[in-house]
Amino acid sequence: MKLIAIVGTNSNTSTNRKLLQFMSKHFSARAEIEICEIKQIPAFDEPEDKYAPKEVQELCERIAAADGVIFSTPEYDHTIPAALKSVIEWISYTTRPLINKPVLIVGASHGLLGTSRAQTHLRQILDAPELKARVLPSSEFLLGHSLNAFDEEGNLVYADKLKELDEIFEEFQLFVEINNRLVQDHSFKTEQNKKFTWEQASQGGGVQ
């Protein structure tokens, strides 16, 4: 199974990056997890020529080729960082590779709450018709006190959280398989085929 893991921040230091690096290593026998940085992606700004920058196209191609996507998001001001929101706007603006794509949301924060509010927002955002990702329901992985969560080798040291992560990942893998079978049998291409503008998106996702 091939998964893309998106580091939800442009910061040089991030425990969300550490979390994904750990997952990539820890689950390497079960899935190939490719970590994807967003720092190099320009801020979303609707291009006059309607063509997204090549960094966006590359990201979209990688997502399209993967069996599923993992987002690891920090929480800035009760929601996801602008840098991650910008990437999502690009995704919805272009080929919309997240449509029907299985998604797992995780997040790490220095404080106690572990990005709970940002994850709820991200779930709502990914539910927008122009994104239409298949987010793993009823599961959330919230890693609080993340500054102390990893040892020098980058291993997750909280035993209870490790067990939780193992379970969620197993569930996600099953979810990816079932979902991809469903999507193969019933392909819904309407949104992907539409040319995108915000004006169209706001007409209820272009379904008319």
Partner: protein, 818 residues
Amino acid sequence: MKFIGIVGTNAKKSYNRQLLAFMQSHFSAKAEIEILELKDVPMFNESEDQSQTPVIQNFNTKIIEADGVIIATPEHNHSIPSALKSILEWLSYNLHPLDGKPLMIVGAAYDVQGSSRAQLHLRQILDAPGVNASVMPGYEFLLGRAHEAFDDAGNIQSERTVDFLESCFYRFMRFARVANLLNVPEEVAFEPGTYSVTAPGHNGDLPMTVELSSTRIEKIDIDTSGESQGIADVVFTRIPTQIIEGQTLNVDILSGASVTSSGVIDGVSKAVKMAGANPDVLKKRPKADSAINHGDEEYETDVIVVGAGGAGLAAAASVLQQGKNVIIVEKFPAIGGNTVRTGGPMNAADPQWQRKFAAIPGEGHTLQELAAIAEEQVDAEYLADFRIFKQQVADYLDETKNGKEFLFDSAIFHRMQTYFGGKRTDLRGNAIHGQYDLVKVLTDRALESVKWLEELGVEFDYNDVTMPVGALWRRGHKPVKHEGYAFVAALEQFVRGSGGRIITDTPVERLIIEADGRVSGIVGTGVAGQTVTVHAKAVVLASGGFGANTKMLKQYNTFWSEIDDEIKTSNSPAITGDGIRLGQSAGADLVGMGFSQMMPVSDPQTGALFSGLQVPPQNFVMVNTQGKRFVNEYGSRDQLSIAAIDNGGLFYLIADDKIKETAYNTNQDKIDKQVAKGTLFRADTLEELARQIGVEPATLVDTIAKYNSYVDQGHDPEFGKSAFDLKVATAPFYATPRKPAVHHTMGGLKIDTQTHVLNESGQIIPGLYAAGEVAGGIHAGNRLGGNSLTDIFTFGRIAGSTAIADHASAADGLTVRR
């Protein structure tokens, strides 16, 4: 009223912009609305702070000045656009202009939803603690089907919609008036008086008094007599100064002293509470002006010194003595580095002075033993000096054969001890000894350094010649008072008084290196995140070793079988090898990096040297946790450390009342406090002392009885201790718990005798100099106690002179560009 309207998108065409423009003209008689655009706002990135750029500052200032803010948001993917989120992140990171600001949310969208979901997200975002805006409740203005809402002149066509917008806006004007009342600074009224509280110190709470008049904090006094000076005094001066300057409790804590900083602020808060006022009001006040970042800084000078410890201050003083300018850049709030932590004695052979003192038992033996070393064991470059030394010993013995033994010394003896004392072989079989030319400079110019320090105001105690732990000989010049702080205080006064500038709280991030390899400056980060750039003709690295960097110690270690992850250090937490990394960035060669020194007699809890009773080694009586002696207490530091580690680490220094009198680090008050705290043990009998430290009483009594008999006979058949002073005989008795901790790193940048830093081909790196513990090659495998001060003041001084001599034409004055 004046409002700021923010167009919540960077799109070229926006109905939200149109909506704000309509509001601007429609309500122009009631209020002024200035519209701000997001087009030029960069994507927020916490690693690349741009809070000080004109575009972010424009938002910041205008919002602070406005009576309220109106945000018009579109909806992208069921939330607000990233462009709007980005400015909110900038305005909630280092700047907080929206804190308490009345805020109205409106939104326009192409579809019927009219940005309903984005508005709900925006409300939650604005509620986050870093933003903390006062968002008007209710009155949700959603403009759906926006493409049909406006006429060609940009007016909203529907009368009903305009009516609702009016009721929302008029409500907001009232809301803003009321909400802004919450922003009026609350008056505080104190019950005047002087309130006694406490501040946390290193050895327990310190008494603090806060004097309050009816409206002001007048005075804050912290009694630091129980503290070792220099370490925490910046906290105890700067924080009270800022509190009084700004009449505020909004004070930044100091890096490296967060507990102490918060403690001082908490102490003042408590006093404010005791005086019947609410400290939260003072915490809401702006910071003192001196604590605010006023933008990036750029300076030009003759010489930059990195690190404000003894070596750096000496280098700076020597530059100033030659009439040139200097800037010292120090990463910590406090100056003094490791120098403030030393016991104070500095090695320098001064035979004229030393011969006034009688020799003590064992010293003659030490001389003969050293002189008896076979010549084939002496490295070729030291041989000529060794022969002179042997002759000196022979002459001395001849002179004193009639029994009048005085304390012998010579620069060559100092040199031979530094050489022999530093000879070591690491675990891989690599032998190392001190580089002859450097050791020669160290020992030949040591006394000159003492005299130089005297000229700068350091007062030495000539009534006593001391031997610090691991020094091997009594040639320590000890300041009359304040231990290592004496050097720092005198040098600081000279440096500041001569126009030298010391920039604290500013770690150097990188060197400025020209295309031809010449080092011409530094770039650092100031206390408020501003970039500090200094250009100069020379950079002297004087930033110390890496004793507080366990990772680096482990990376280079080739001497100790193991360095524990949890190892303590006697060093300042600032000593993390920064200068070595900076030197490497310019291509510097390293020498002897595998050799580090443990201080065997460190506090087991903190690694500090100042706790307990620190007495001269001839009065050390070391017992392990079984109550038995285990080593020749007069041995070198690494012999003591290896023995202690082999005995489980923890051991005790046993002392009686007379030995206590020889302690150079303490006074009765400190002793009583430590006994009460349980970090020092005291008892009227040895049996009781043994019980306190969990040792079999009979064993300890036996150990001490044997030791006392060795003192009487001047000979230790068990461990070969070679110099004795006092017996353990007079109650009360003391036990100081000790454990080895990292004390010194002998390795470092390769330098020549003029302190030029050399590259791997042995060539001088132009513009770069190094002095003190950051440089290697002198002490090799083991540094003698008391030689570090000699090192920093001798080579620090030389670095200042060389830097000027190399650039004799450098004559520009200090200029400040902001």
